[in-house]
């Protein structure tokens, strides 16, 4: 009876949120992607708005994807059709051929992979190292080589990506013989400006088109030994897209050579410093007047809430229906018990973002891989608590059940599961709360939810945008807490609550 109720609730969820029936499976749809930093959002929005000029196309946006690995995989799997990439990133991270400078050769290698790029949009968003103006005057710093004057006294902060890229800190260090020693911290890129402004660090890595360079009083150190590769922005798409949408591609190529670093810095500053929305910046740039006013906050939160509930609810239902039988099976034999408990424990040790990335080759990006990842994450608490609850049953009660002549299945259903129900419910509750938190990462693979404003807000370093995701997520966890208090009144037999 109760399980029937769960099935009905599960399918309600499914219908309420439209299941997997995304519009991308209907008609002439073009999906534009972006990474999760300001410039990528803005350029993605410009591309999307240009495409929207053609009324026969439905334009979808999958913005805020978490990194080159994810977005390129999405392009390869045709989950997205086009996004803005940088030549340096293509050679370093995608082709893994650092130092490849020849454009024709680059184009050829991409075509071997079924991909193609446009000519540069006109600006080079390379990495650069920056220090505060006063700091540079004090220590006479003009070039990266000058940093060696500081010895290991400089406090340095780099983004996680820069710390690990082959063209990032490790080779930069070698190239210039830098001796920062242990004073190098890793932090999210959006936070390094705060850190240098507050005099918590002295040297940071920046992008040469950062909007903040306009206003923050920073000195960019000259790359005197020509270390950093060129990061010319280009449109990146698949050969299939060019073949199927030649007109759209022609139109997008009008963006070639239309930008320079100053313009891009300005567009970035509009978002980062002046709080303008990406659609507004894009349409101002394209000179088409103000776009439809940004979605009201309430509507935005409601849309994210639906996405988040879908992610948490559906994955939880699967965690329950798979986790409880696994927990039961684990109590039936020692071997199975070990295998199951170790397996579900191992799943939990995979960092959540890594798990999401592993699933992209199998399930692409978007809601499906996010659901699979959340389902896998939700398993352990359900499995472990079911197992625990069943193992802890007083052995005399199990004898009592066998002495009545109940069959194995009857004993599980009528005696063991009800007696273990408080533990099982505690497991499901833990799973749900973990799910609500972890689901915020799903935005990095384009599944939306409360993570979407959080990722955007992080890119913009804009607390109020982060709050739009973070506060409802916290509220949802609180609501879940009380909801489970209520559910326990229904699911846990009265005799056990006395």
């Amino acid at each position: 009876m109760k399980s029937l109720l769960l099935i009905v609730m599960g399918s309600l969820f499914w219908n309420l949120f439209g299941g997997f029936g995304h519009p991308c499976f209907a008609g002439e749809t073009v999906t534009v992607g972006s990474k999760n930093f300001t410039e990528s959002y803005i350029l993605g929005e410009i591309v999307a708005q240009l495409l929207e000029d053609d009324p026969s196309l439905t334009v979808q946006r999958k913005f805020g994807l978490g990194g080159t690995g994810i977005i390129y995989e999405a392009l390869r799997k045709e989950e997205i059709d086009i996004y803005v990439e940088y030549t340096g990133t293509i050679t370093e991270n995608i082709l893994k051929e650092p130092g490849l400078k020849d454009r024709a050769l680059l184009q050829k290698k991409l075509e071997d992979l079924g991909m193609t790029i446009s000519a540069p949009l006109g600006f080079n968003n390379t990495y650069a190292l920056a220090v505060r103006k006063d700091f540079s005057e004090q220590h006479h710093l003009k070039t990266i080589s000058d940093l060696n004057k500081l010895g290991d006294q400089a406090r340095v902060a780099f983004s996680f990506e820069f710390m690990s890229r082959s063209d990032g800190y490790p080779s930069l260090k070698k190239h210039y013989g830098l001796t920062f020693g242990k004073n190098v911290k890793s932090m999210d890129h959006s936070l390094v400006y705060e850190a240098i402004q507050n005099n918590q660090v002295d040297v940071i890595e920046v992008y040469s088109t950062d909007g903040k360079l306009e206003t923050f009083d920073l000195e960019i150190l000259k790359d005197d030994k020509n270390f950093f590769p060129t990061y010319d922005a280009v449109l990146m798409t698949s050969l299939n897209f060019v073949k199927n949408h030649p007109l759209a591609w022609e139109k997008l190529r009008t963006l070639e050579n239309q930008f320079d670093e100053k313009l891009m810095q300005h567009l970035n500053a509009e978002a980062d410093l002046n709080g303008k929305s990406f659609p507004a910046i894009a349409s101002t740039y394209l000179e088409r007047g103000a776009p439809d006013e940004v979605e009201a906050i309430f509507k935005r939160v409601w849309r994210r809430t639906k996405e988040h509930l879908l992610l948490v609810g559906v994955s939880l239902v699967f965690s329950i229906f798979v986790g409880i039988p696994m927990g039961i099976l684990a109590t039936r034999s020692k071997l199975w018990g070990q295998v199951i408990l170790i397996f579900s424990g191992l799943l939990q040790t995979i960092p959540s973002l890594a798990l999401l990335v592993f699933l992209i080759p199998l399930f692409g990006i978007g809601t499906l891989p996010a659901l699979v990842a959340l389902f896998l994450y939700g398993l352990l608490p359900v499995v472990v608590n079911t197992h625990e609850g069943m193992v802890r049953i007083d052995p005399r009660l199990l004898e009592s059940a066998r002495s009545l002549g109940l069959s194995d299945w009857q004993r599980i259903r009528l005696i063991e599961l009800p007696l273990a129900s408080p533990n099982i419910l505690a497991g499901v509750r833990t799973s749900a709360i973990i799910g609500i938190g972890t689901a915020t990462l799903a935005a990095l693979i384009g599944a939306g939810g409360y993570g979407a404003p959080i990722v955007t807000g992080l890119a913009l370093n804009d607390l109020s945008t982060i709050y739009i995701g973070a506060i409802p997520a916290a509220l949802m966890a609180v609501v879940a807490h009380f909801l489970f208090g209520f559910i326990s009144q229904i699911v846990i037999p009265k005799g056990l609550r006395l």
């Binding site: 004898e399 066998r402 002495s403 009545l404 002549g405 109940l406 009528l414 005696i415 007696l419 037999p493």
Partner: protein
């Protein structure tokens, strides 16, 4: 009729039951008596099919107890544990009728059987709606007896059924339990370590010592014609008020 045929059992090299050869007549009350570790509870669980013998066999009428026959044979026997063994998530009525419901009895049949048995164990109907945690020790045991007797089995097994009760309640429940057994007219096997209880209930008494049957007979046979010095030692070890003589 229950027959135990050359049964051996050991756990981790320790012999728990050694060449047990017994038979129990129908409609009588039989006592398995012994100190803790004597093997009496193991023997009772073995009769219920909860433990399998290493060697030998156990027969209920003409049917042999095996892992595959256990379920059906269990339905012909009732089992009462020390604290009743009632399921805490079910109320008294659900505990009592659980097996009948899974066997598909109609609610009228179930109600009739409850009415019959509640008379026998003299319980108030109000008790049926309560959960085990709300019942007194005596009430739990009566409910457990109702559950054990519900399918009208030929055999009722009890493992120290009064062991957890206060002395006063215990004494009054002993009398009631004996009259319940007389009304039910079943083959009853009851495990106890209490001489008084053995004398009070047992048509036959079986004294076990370190996994062996020392003597099997009526209580007065054990008292007056012991076959082994330990029999007398065991019976005399439990002093009564009489033994204290002039100290009171």
């Amino acid at each position: 009729m229950i027959r135990i045929d050359s049964v051996y059992k050991s756990f981790n090299q320790t012999v728990v039951l050694n060449d047990i050869q017994l038979s129990f007549a129908p409609k009588k009350t039989h006592i398995l008596l012994g100190a803790s570790g004597s093997g009496k509870s193991t023997l009772l669980k073995m009769i219920m099919g909860l433990i399998s013998p290493d060697q030998g066999s156990i027969w209920l009428d003409q049917e042999k107890m095996t892992p595959s026959s256990q379920r059906l044979l269990a339905q012909k026997m009732g089992y009462v544990l020390q604290d009743g063994g009632l399921f805490p998530h079910l109320n008294a009525r659900q505990n009592i009728a659980l097996m009948a419901e899974t066997l598909g009895w109609s609610s009228q049949q179930i109600q009739n059987r409850i009415d019959e048995l509640i008379e026998v164990v003299s319980l108030d109907h109000l008790v049926l709606g309560k959960f085990p945690r709300q019942l007194s020790g005596g009430e739990k045991q009566r409910v457990a007896v109702m559950r054990a007797a519900f399918l009208n089995p030929n055999v009722i097994l009890l493992d120290e059924p009064l062991g957890a009760l206060d002395p006063l309640i215990r004494s009054s429940l002993q009398k009631e339990l004996r009259s319940i057994f007389e009304k039910l007219q079943k083959l009853v096997i009851m495990v106890t370590h209490d001489i008084g209880e053995a004398a009070f209930f047992g048509h036959t008494v079986t004294l076990l010592y370190q996994g062996r049957v020392l003597q099997h007979g009526s209580f007065s046979e054990l008292l007056h014609a012991p076959t082994h010095p330990y029999v007398t030692e065991f019976i005399q070890a439990q002093r009564t008020l009489h033994d204290l003589g002039d100290k009171i």
